[in-house]
């Protein structure tokens, strides 16, 4: 039988009115059931400075508005990339971690924001 805090055989439990379930990380944090949420596997250690490592699972949300400084999944040409987003007077830019030049988010450059990162899962700690 599963443990039930309000059923004791000797003394009544003083906690009976305060029983809460275990934390449901899926519902509270990750919530991949949202229609705009997707899991993405990170490849490479370029963003290790932001605490994002190779093999991590990013939970990203395509409904979130972009903000300066967030980590996004961007569609750049033929591929998806994980990178930091910055804002300049002329619009949104992807800031690379290395010495390469930033890229402007623009249909002309074939760069668009695919989704904004909202959480991270690391199983390899």
């Amino acid at each position: 039988m599963a443990y039930q805090g309000d059923r004791t055989t000797g003394f009544a439990s003083p906690t009976a009115d305060n029983i809460e379930g275990t934390i449901d990380l899926m519902a509270a944090v990750l919530d991949l059931r949202q229609p705009s949420r997707y899991p993405v596997r990170v490849e490479g250690d370029a963003l290790v400075g932001r605490g994002i490592k190779h093999g991590d699972i990013l939970v990203v949300d395509s409904a979130l508005a972009p903000r300066a400084g967030v980590v996004v999944i961007a569609s750049v040409g033929d591929e998806l990339r994980v990178c930091e987003l910055t804002q300049r007077p002329d619009g949104w830019w992807l800031r690379p971690s290395g010495s390469t030049k930033p890229l402007q988010v623009d249909d002309d450059t074939d760069v668009s924001i695919w989704a904004v990162a909202t959480g991270l899962v690391r199983t390899d700690v």
């Binding site: 229609p35 997707y38 899991p39 395509s62 999944i73 971690s97």
Partner: protein
């Protein structure tokens, strides 16, 4: 006045593939039917290369003009999840959504505040941004008009994916230049009949006397006409009550002759149907099985569909037993079987009414099934399964060009490089 909308995913299966692969953005993409048989979804680029609906893959791929095409096996796990996303994005924005097919949904847009055009535009953008599916939206005072509007939005690029047919004057303009073939609910025979009478456009059709339409095309035709005239006859339907049967039917990866192989396949289909049944908290009281040879490869034609009433159940083991018993009664040696299936009908809520003399222990059965379903939900479909559904499964359909199941399997999620 009611307002109905119809939103429809553009080349839906192809768009699901594109959602996770930017390299496909401008490429011709084609998705193949079960068993990599023939083209069932094509992007605009693929259509313009002359790839037709139903083109067999093994011929089409050899044509020189088809060289740039990227082919995919159908990835139903992915498409089902993307359809779910589309539905939920819509559900959050309109009072009622009726999923008409995997990629088409009727919307209730009646008496919503604000500008309807702006709203539909926003809905379309939200589906694109959140569910990653490009769509077209059509709307009007009836379902049939909404469906027609949706078709116009799809066919005329200048409409930019949106078509409003609420205004009778605008309707009249489109009706005059639109063929009756485009109308929802007019089959090929009906169209032929009408065309033989000189009725070509939707205008021709709506101006006919309703009585003569009824004589010519029965009440069904009369209803189509009334709907096109702006008189709503079809309401948004409730899916939950419309479920009449659950089927699991597939063509085999190769032709099967031996009973043990067929038995295995039929058991597998029964197990799949049972899972669907339990997912909807239903039981079935009638099971039928079909097996058939291929009518197109010159083999002698043999097809049987047999059914039997059964004690209401959703237990995989019961359903497998019934299905394989029935299949055995119609299986004959000497034929090369091409397809089989299991169909469950006479559906009812689980546990609603116990049989008078039940032969089973329903509590034990539902406990066992719940454990099996939970394990499979967590570790992947088919991880725990009855051994009668096969271990090697040499009959599974070919799916040589299958993409990852990006949203339903942890080891197949989309990958992105850190930059």
């Amino acid at each position: 006045m009611p307002v109905f909308g119809l939103i429809d995913g553009n080349s839906f299966y192809c768009s699901c593939q594109r959602a996770f692969e930017p390299r496909l953005k401008r490429k011709p993409v084609v998705v193949l039917s079960n068993n990599d048989g023939c083209a069932i979804a094509r992007t605009r680029e693929a259509k313009s290369l002359g790839i037709k609906m139903g083109d067999p893959w093994h011929f089409a791929r050899k044509r020189p003009e088809a060289r740039p095409v990227v082919w995919y096996s159908s990835n139903y796990a992915l498409y089902a999840d993307m359809s779910r996303r589309m539905y939920e994005v819509l559900q959050a924005r309109v009072p009622a959504v009726e999923p008409y097919s995997i990629d088409e949904m009727f919307l209730d847009l009646t008496s919503l505040p604000g500008d309807l055009y702006e709203r539909c535009k926003n809905i379309r953008e939200a589906v694109w941004r959140e569910a990653k599916i490009p769509t077209c939206v059509g709307w009007g005072p009836t379902k049939t008009i909404a469906k027609l509007a949706n078709g116009l939005a799809k066919d005329h690029a200048r409409l930019e994916g949106l078509c409003d047919l609420t205004d009778p004057r605008i309707r009249a303009e489109w009706y005059a230049v639109t063929s009756i073939e485009e109308v929802w609910g007019t089959g090929r025979q009906t169209v032929k009949k009408l065309q033989s009478m000189g009725i070509e456009t939707v205008s021709d059709f709506v101006t006919l006397d309703p009585k003569s339409i009824r004589n010519l095309l029965t009440v069904v035709g009369a209803r189509v006409q009334a709907e096109l005239r702006g008189q709503s006859c079809l309401a948004l339907s409730d899916v939950s009550s419309s479920r009449k049967s659950i089927a699991s039917t597939r063509t085999f990866g190769r032709l099967l002759t031996e009973w043990p192989e067929i038995r295995e396949a039929v058991a597998h289909y029964a197990a799949r149907a049972a899972e669907k049944l339990r997912a909807e908290h239903l039981e079935s009281a009638h099971l039928s099985v079909l097996i058939q040879t291929n009518p197109h490869n010159g083999d002698p034609w043999y097809a049987k569909h047999v059914g039997a009433a059964i004690e209401p159940t959703s237990d995989t083991r019961d359903l497998i037993r019934h299905a394989t018993d029935l299949a055995q009664s119609v299986w004959l040696p000497g034929y090369r079987y091409f397809k089989a299936g299991v169909v469950l009908t006479d559906l009812r809520p689980a546990g609603a009414q116990g049989a008078l003399f039940s032969t089973r222990a329903p509590d034990l059965s539902s406990a066992a099934m719940a454990v099996m379903d939970a394990i499979n939900a967590r570790f992947g479909s088919g991880v725990v399964r009855p051994s009668s559904t096969g271990l090697r499964r040499t009959w599974t359909p070919r799916a040589s060009l299958l993409s990852a199941r990006y949203t339903t399997r942890l080891d197949e999620i989309v990958r992105a490089r850190s930059w």
